[in-house]
């Protein structure tokens, strides 16, 4: 199903001579998960966007799945927050008061609401929880010096950081997710641009043994001036949408 969609998208991209980047589904609002599936004995990382979310300016009538990196969650430049003061927020990698852009762990209907999900997997089939480790960060945002972090806040607002690139990328940048589980995190960025975050995912299947996969997910903090190029991209995306339906 997913492969077929990919093929169609590739064909569409070729047919209208757009750069391959435009084959991405632009996800601007609503609930979706960076998902872990299991298919033919291999882990199958993907993006699962739920019905009701906005993708390519259209509200999805049913759930959709995309290959990692084919769905691009976007946050507008104007949606920046000022970094809170206090050393507990140093992990952001910018000074207090400087802008950060966050896809929040609590629902804001004007933004993508991004979780990690392994809901398609039966807990009994997996003898360990999955470990999702950040192994790389690339893209124009990262090149511009942008930092990436993933965290949650507790009942009194204190952050618990799972991943952050401020002190580099190491084995300490990980989170756990049980088969059948689903949890939301704050995904934070400190510069506009594209971020390509590569995760190494490991888990142990009760019968098939240790499994691992690498997946690169993309995020975008849309740069400030809405350029003609961006409009063109949006138009291309709509064309793609039509093509897919036919």
């Amino acid at each position: 199903m997913k492969l077929q969609k990919l093929a169609i998208l590739a064909a569409a991209a070729a047919a209208i001579s757009l750069p391959s980047a435009s084959a991405q589904a632009i996800w601007t609002a609503g609930h979706g998960d960076l998902g872990i599936g299991y298919d033919a004995g291999e882990l199958d990382p993907h993006v699962h966007i739920h019905a009701g979310a906005t993708v390519d300016t259209v509200v999805l009538g049913a759930d959709e799945e995309y290959a990692p990196g084919d769905a691009l969650p976007q946050i507008a430049f104007a949606k920046s927050l000022g970094r809170p003061s206090g050393a507990t927020w140093d992990f952001f990698g910018v000074a207090s008061g400087q802008p950060v852009w966050v896809f929040p762990a609590t629902e804001d209907p004007s933004l993508p609401f991004i979780g990690f999900g392994a809901e398609e997997l039966a807990p009994g089939d997996w003898s360990t929880a999955f470990t999702i480790t950040l192994t790389g960060l690339a893209g124009s945002g990262a090149t511009a010096g942008g930092k990436f972090s993933v965290y949650q806040t507790d009942g009194f607002g204190t952050p618990t950081v799972s991943m952050q690139t401020t002190d580099g990328i190491s084995g300490a940048d990980f989170m756990s997710l049980a088969a059948g589980g689903h949890a939301h995190y704050n995904f934070a960025f400190t510069q506009p641009g594209i971020y390509e975050a590569t995760f190494h995912i490991t888990g142990t299947h009760a019968l098939d043994g240790a499994k691992s996969a690498d997946a690169t997910y993309k995020f975008e903090v849309v740069p400030e001036p809405t350029s003609f190029a961006l409009l063109a991209l949006g138009g291309g995306a709509m064309l793609l949408r039509r093509w897919r339906k036919s």
Partner: protein, 379 residues
């Protein structure tokens, strides 16, 4: 044969019959039913998105919080001095039990709703906590009923902490219950929040969901839906044996629903079943449940009254105090503490205790174990 098959079924899928306590990821689902123009409310837990889950009416189960410090895998926090959290109703430094918005491996309640896309009307919501246009679903607080040992009425609150650490308060009883005690979510979303409670006990939180329909802009509100929270060891025990409004009435500390003379507090203290009449004392030296055993024993050549009973370990924060006492007259001012006691550990939660009178049994002595429910606890 048929009977046997039924028995096997019972054994094979115990979860088909709702348990008293639900832990883990649990969603309170409000779903609009177009066919009947009504809402239903179900707690969905124990499963995953694509695999069969358990769904139970909110009146059949309760959501527990443990009376252990958050730093020791429990749900008990300390109220911070910050004015931003005054809404919880707890005094700075006082305990506050929180079922958290981020999963900590125990009870993790959230809201979810599943509708046909486009069921709800999209409208601009001017509530300053959201101020956006969306297909809003509103969940409002109707009432909170408390049953427990706290003096006064404890507070319930519901809030989220944002990506910058700032709280957004959705419901709080500390300033009464009014029109702003509501949570806004959107069509087909799922979200988690912090549920705060200022005292041990049972909380019956009654809510109503509502939305405007896209079809005719009609406003449809649900009937009252009550979700029960059990905070602490005694509350969890009550919710294991009773459900719904019954937890407050039959399940009260001093009620005796099985009419065996032992109120629930005594059944809880001595590990007996509040629904099964019983007055038997525990078996000497081996018992794990039953009323205290009082007898005369020859200790070091002298006849002494002893009392033997099972006790909840203090490490479980049982919220009760056991006081074994002896008297020669039964008059109120004559009860004295016993002498030597021996304690035998039974498991993680229970121990067996035997206390000997410090006075000779002749001509007559009496023994009792007084069980007191604690109102305030200094941790």
């Amino acid at each position: 044969m048929k009977k046997l098959f039924f028995l096997c079924l019972l054994l094979a899928c115990p979860n088909a019959f709702p348990a008293g306590l639900v832990t883990g990821h649990v969603d309170i689902r409000f779903n609009y039913q177009p066919a009947t123009d009504t809402w239903n409310c179900l707690l969905r837990y124990g499963g995953t998105f694509d695999n069969p889950s358990i769904e139970a009416g909110p009146e059949t189960v309760a959501l527990p919080a443990r009376d252990l410090l958050s730093t020791a895998s429990g749900e008990r926090y300390l109220q911070p001095p910050s004015a931003a959290y005054a809404f919880t109703g707890a005094a700075a430094g006082s305990p506050l039990w929180i079922l958290p918005q981020s999963d900590r491996g125990y009870t993790w309640p959230g809201f979810a709703n599943v509708q046909t896309v486009g069921t709800f009307l999209s409208y601009p919501n001017s509530d300053p906590r959201v101020s956006a246009t969306a297909k809003w679903l509103k969940i409002r607080l109707v009432s909170v009923e408390y049953s427990g040992a706290a003096t006064g009425l404890p507070d319930f609150s519901l809030w989220t902490t944002g990506s910058g650490g700032t709280p957004t308060v959705w419901m709080a009883t500390s300033d009464g219950i009014g029109p702003t005690d509501c949570y806004f979510t959107t069509e087909n979303t799922h979200s988690h929040l912090n549920w705060g409670f200022t005292a041990l006990g049972i909380y019956r939180v009654t809510m109503r969901s509502s939305a405007y329909l896209a079809s005719d802009s009609g406003f449809v509100e649900s009937t009252d839906q009550t979700v029960t929270f059990a905070i602490g060891t005694f509350a969890a025990w009550r919710a294991t044996h009773f459900s719904g409004a019954d937890i407050v009435t039959s399940g009260d500390a001093l009620s005796d629903p099985d009419a065996d003379g032992s109120p629930n507090l005594i059944e809880y203290a001595f590990n007996t079943d509040p629904d099964l009449p019983g007055t038997a004392p525990i078996a000497a030296g081996t018992g794990t449940s039953g009323l205290p055993l009082v007898r005369v024993e020859n200790l070091s050549g002298q006849d002494r009254l002893t009392v033997e009973f099972v006790r909840r370990k203090s490490s479980t924060n049982p919220q009760i105090v056991y006081t074994p006492e002896f008297s020669g007259t039964l008059s109120a001012g004559d009860w004295q503490a016993g002498g030597t006691s021996t304690v035998t550990s039974l498991d993680a939660n229970w121990e067996r205790v035997k206390v000997a009178d410090s006075v000779a049994a002749a001509p007559r002595r009496f023994a009792r174990v007084r069980v007191t429910l604690q109102t305030g606890i200094s941790y």
